[in-house]
């Protein structure tokens, strides 16, 4: 999602497979600049990425930010590798509108591909420039020099360090992208499980999060939200709150309401006081969560055929000499899911000398800065956003919204930093949710093969992040001078939004895949890890198993029979081996196993997952005691970091699949804490075994969202194997399971 969005009319769905879309920036085209790889394309100067400091270390900048995924460690590894510096002499700066490259949003499992590629090539080029400078200084040919740990040595034993060259070094030049990076065979740092740079502070109480910032004179703030979206604040007893101890200011702008106090507990008390006296004209009622799918299907859609494949030879009739095809049809449903970060969103803002500085755990400090400036009526140059880590976000949670809230509140106490911490109910009640989805699949099997595949997906957009087309920040819609959100739109294939992974990677002679984008949003939604891929892989891979059953085929063999991509085959075969998959394994009696596969976005990491499930008929409880995964991410930068991401994805997806569903009724959102929105706990997580297939000569692929889709599918398939009942509605919670098993 870093690339500029294309409108739907800018691309055409091609016959016979995937649609190729190119991002297009008219400014670049006009300048006739050469295309550079990764984020070098949009941030072309070497010194935007790398500075060599006088002490011989490197300061490396990235527009990507740490979200707990370990990205800064992995990017530091790449830079250190190419620069021939020890990791300890690479200092990372990330996500600062005042200092770093603009790389859009840290999302979509793209940081290694975009920022990593840029750093790899910039690093190689800076190293070459350093060697040239050393060659001049020593009066020898560059190719006689060797580099080790930031020291360049000649054949005669003379040495010059990066630090000695730093002062005269000119990196204010456009990258060429032409200096070849090191071959994988000579990697010393890349490909190793370097310990994460951020973990020591995080396990000892060191400052690690925006919540830990306490600049001198800092005030504490809280916001007061209405009972449900779209409500208007008619009146509130500001004086009562102002009379409470420590209260510095009550800030009201239209229907946005908040309070600033000297101490945090004072702000919390004042929040309660304001909430008590606030009179709201309620916004429109929400739909009922029990009837949400019917409601969504009743709304108008913007339809796009995202894949169509119908060779003439097969059109209209099944292949000659084959048995009459068996037709199947199924509808799958996925509820709204909350990001549910353990730490509610938080930001620190300061208005000083007409400039607003916001420390934020936003995934995109540049796009957020743009929206903040509009909402605050300030020039973008007068607003600076600096990334400071928050609790894990898993997509677009309240991070951007709390940044605007904090900035609005900071206007109530100019010159003093104001830290706003959302409360737990702020986060559950107001974060943008991962959208509910409906997937309808029809298929036909004949002679053990799929001869027809028809698939439709209904969903809201999966991305309403801050962007130039409108102000996608909660408080902006409630101001006295309210700002409008951007119109919702899809993300074009091949990445896709609601239709992400809606196009199966399998080879079917006939297929048609339709994306039905619902533009009206009954609930606020945006990006949750995987966007539509979780729902689509659930449906596609469940339906694969339903068709396999109809064909009398083993699920693994059936998948392989329809798969030509060798890397996809390799992960399916590897996970089957690892899990000791047997063709004739008996399910039933509450125990079963299932497989799920996807190549994330059809562009990134390949993952196949096998899980075992146990179903307790009496209670309806579903357990996943074991999960196995095989993973191909191309060249692996940090094996342990990759395993951590894949494991995390499997566990999070298991939680979504077994437990999670946002509850609401016409009055408002009913999920407001961990009791009304339970997640998987320590005694319920599967044991996990992972096999990495490292491919040093292939480019690195994003992996942060790769295992969630295959996991839900494997669980759904294992459930069917265990019970002989197919559940097509998520989550597989006790009530639903008990009802299904009668």
């Amino acid at each position: 999602m870093n690339a500029p969005m294309m409108s739907r009319r800018d691309f055409t769905a091609g016959l016979g497979g995937l649609v190729v879309a190119f991002s297009f920036d008219p400014k670049l085209a006009l300048a006739q600049q050469p295309t550079l790889p990764g984020s070098l394309q949009t941030n072309r100067m070497l010194d935007a990425w790398i500075r060599i400091d006088a002490d011989g270390s490197a300061t490396v900048s990235t527009g990507k930010v740490e979200l707990g995924q370990g990205i800064l460690t992995a990017l530091a590894q790449i830079a250190a590798e190419e620069l021939d510096l020890p990791l300890g002499r690479v200092h990372m700066i990330s996500g600062d509108t005042g200092r770093t490259p603009n790389e859009g949003v840290t999302s979509g499992s793209q940081s290694i591909e975009y920022s990593g590629t840029a750093l790899r090539l910039a690093g190689a080029e800076v190293r070459a420039i350093l060697i040239d400078a050393a060659a001049k200084k020593l009066g020898v040919a560059a190719d006689t020099l060797k580099v080790s740990e930031g020291t360049i040595s000649g054949a005669d034993g003379r040495k010059v360090t990066y630090g000695e060259l730093a002062a005269a070094l000119d990196l204010k030049r456009e990258a060429t992208g032409k200096v070849p990076p090191k071959p994988a065979a000579s990697h010393m740092i890349v490909g190793t499980s370097v310990p994460r740079l951020d973990i020591p502070n995080k396990v000892t109480g060191g400052p690690a999060y925006v919540q830990d910032m306490r600049p001198a004179g800092m005030l504490h703030a809280r916001v007061v939200r209405p009972p449900r979206p779209g409500s208007r604040l008619e009146s509130v007893d500001e004086a009562a709150a102002k009379g409470l101890p420590g209260v510095v200011a009550v800030v009201r702008d239209g229907s946005f309401l908040g309070v600033i106090a000297e101490r945090e507990e004072q702000a919390i008390k004042a929040r309660a006081e304001l909430a008590k006296s606030a009179k709201w004209t309620l916004g429109p009622p929400l739909p009922d969560s029990a009837k949400i799918y019917d409601h969504l299907l009743s709304l108008p859609t913007e339809d796009t055929v995202v894949s169509e494949k119908q060779p003439a030879a097969l059109a209209g009739a099944p292949p000659a000499n084959s048995a009459a095809p068996k037709m199947l049809e199924a509808t799958y449903r996925k509820p709204y899911i909350a990001h549910g970060s353990i730490g509610p969103s938080c930001a620190l803002a300061e208005l000083k000398d007409g400039k607003m500085t916001v420390w934020t755990h936003s995934q995109g400090v540049f796009p957020n800065r743009g929206n903040l400036a509009v909402a605050l009526g300030m020039k973008p140059d007068d607003v600076r956003c600096i990334h400071a880590e928050g609790s894990g976000c898993y997509g677009h949670n309240g991070a951007d919204d709390v940044a605007l809230d904090a900035a609005l509140l900071a206007r109530g106490a100019p010159g003093r930093p104001v830290r706003l911490q959302w409360m737990r109910d702020d986060e559950f009640g107001w974060e943008p949710y991962g959208p509910a989805m409906v997937m309808k699949a029809k298929g036909a099997v004949s002679d053990g093969r799929i001869v027809d595949w028809n698939y439709e997906v209904w969903s809201n957009t999966h991305s309403m992040r801050p962007e130039p087309g409108g102000v996608n920040l909660l408080a902006a819609w409630y101001l006295a001078d309210p700002k409008k959100p951007a119109p919702p739109k899809g993300i074009p294939q091949p990445a896709g939004g609601g239709d992400r992974n809606a196009v199966p990677l399998y080879d079917f002679p006939r297929q048609r895949v339709v994306n039905r984008l619902i533009k009206e949003m009954p609930l606020r939604v945006s990006a949750l890890r995987t966007l539509g891929a979780y729902g689509n892989v659930f449906a596609v891979e469940s339906f694969m198993d339903e068709l396999a059953l109809a064909a009398g085929a083993d699920p693994v063999a059936f998948r392989l029979a329809h798969m030509t991509d060798p890397r996809a085959r390799a992960v399916i075969e590897a996970v089957a081996r690892k899990a000791d998959w047997k063709q004739d394994q008996k399910g039933g009696e509450g125990r079963g196993r299932g497989i799920g596969f996807a190549k994330y976005k059809n562009l990134a990491t390949y993952v196949a997952v096998v899980v075992d499930v146990e179903v307790d008929r009496a209670s309806g409880n579903v357990r996943v005691p074991h999960a196995y995964a095989a993973v191909d991410s191309g060249l692996v930068i940090n094996p342990d970091g990759l395993v951590n991401q894949i494991e995390g994805g499997i566990i999070q997806s298991t939680s979504w699949t077994l437990k999670e569903e946002l509850r609401f009724n016409p009055e408002g959102i009913l999920s407001h804490d961990w009791l009304s929105y339970p997640i998987l706990t320590m005694t319920e997580v599967p044991k996990i075994e992972i096999e990495l297939i490292n491919r040093p000569t292939e480019r690195s692929l994003g992996a942060g969202e790769a295992s969630q889709g295959p996991t839900v599918a494997a669980i759904a398939n294992a459930f069917a194997h265990a019970t002989s009942k197919r559940l097509r509605d998520l989550p597989l919670g006790r009530t639903r399971v008990k009802a299904a098993l009668g």
């Binding site: 109480g205 830990d212 101490r263 970060s341 730490g343 928050g390 894990g392 566990i651 320590m682």
Partner: protein, 155 residues
């Protein structure tokens, strides 16, 4: 008003009301970052500290209830330079993603190991069942606790 309490072995005075939850005093007045605000409801465990050795949700304990009790935070266990075996084990197992829940995991694990130095894996899982993690780092956390138990056994 001013209230005194003993944190990590030292007497401290804070300018707070008696009904102030301990968490805010630890974080804002005493500068301890370890205990985290997660829910303010005692449901997630991110704010866990030890009070007289018992794992306690500091978001739910008013200052007035501390009295003579001893509060130990994760800063009281060890530091980056001199980590406690549990902290060392969490680093060795790379048992964190975002890390926001880890304070509660380590402090609860401390109490588990104090009560039973060599727990089984199931006992560790049961003991940490009320501490929520959202990134899916659970299995690494369990491995880290078991590793710490083993390390302590050897020393």
């Amino acid at each position: 008003m001013t209230i005194s309490l003993k944190v990590n072995g030292a007497m401290r005075s804070v300018p707070a009301e008696p009904d102030t939850p301990l968490l805010y005093v630890l974080r804002n007045d005493l500068g301890f970052n370890g205990a985290k605000f997660g829910c303010g409801l005692g449901q997630c465990g991110a704010c866990t500290v030890l009070i007289d050795g018992q794992p306690t949700r500091s978001c739910m304990v008013p200052l007035a209830e501390i009295g003579e009790s001893e509060v130990v935070t994760i800063e009281g266990l060890g530091s980056v330079e001199k980590p406690h075996p549990l902290q060392q084990a969490f680093i060795a197992e790379q048992a964190a993603q975002c890390g926001y829940c880890i304070n509660g995991m380590i402090m609860t694990a401390k109490a588990i190991l104090d009560a039973k130095p060599h727990p089984s894996e199931e006992e560790v899982r049961e003991g940490l069942a009320l501490n929520l993690c959202r990134c899916g780092t659970h299995n690494r956390i369990v491995r880290a606790v078991l590793r710490a138990a083993e390390t302590a056994g050897r020393s």
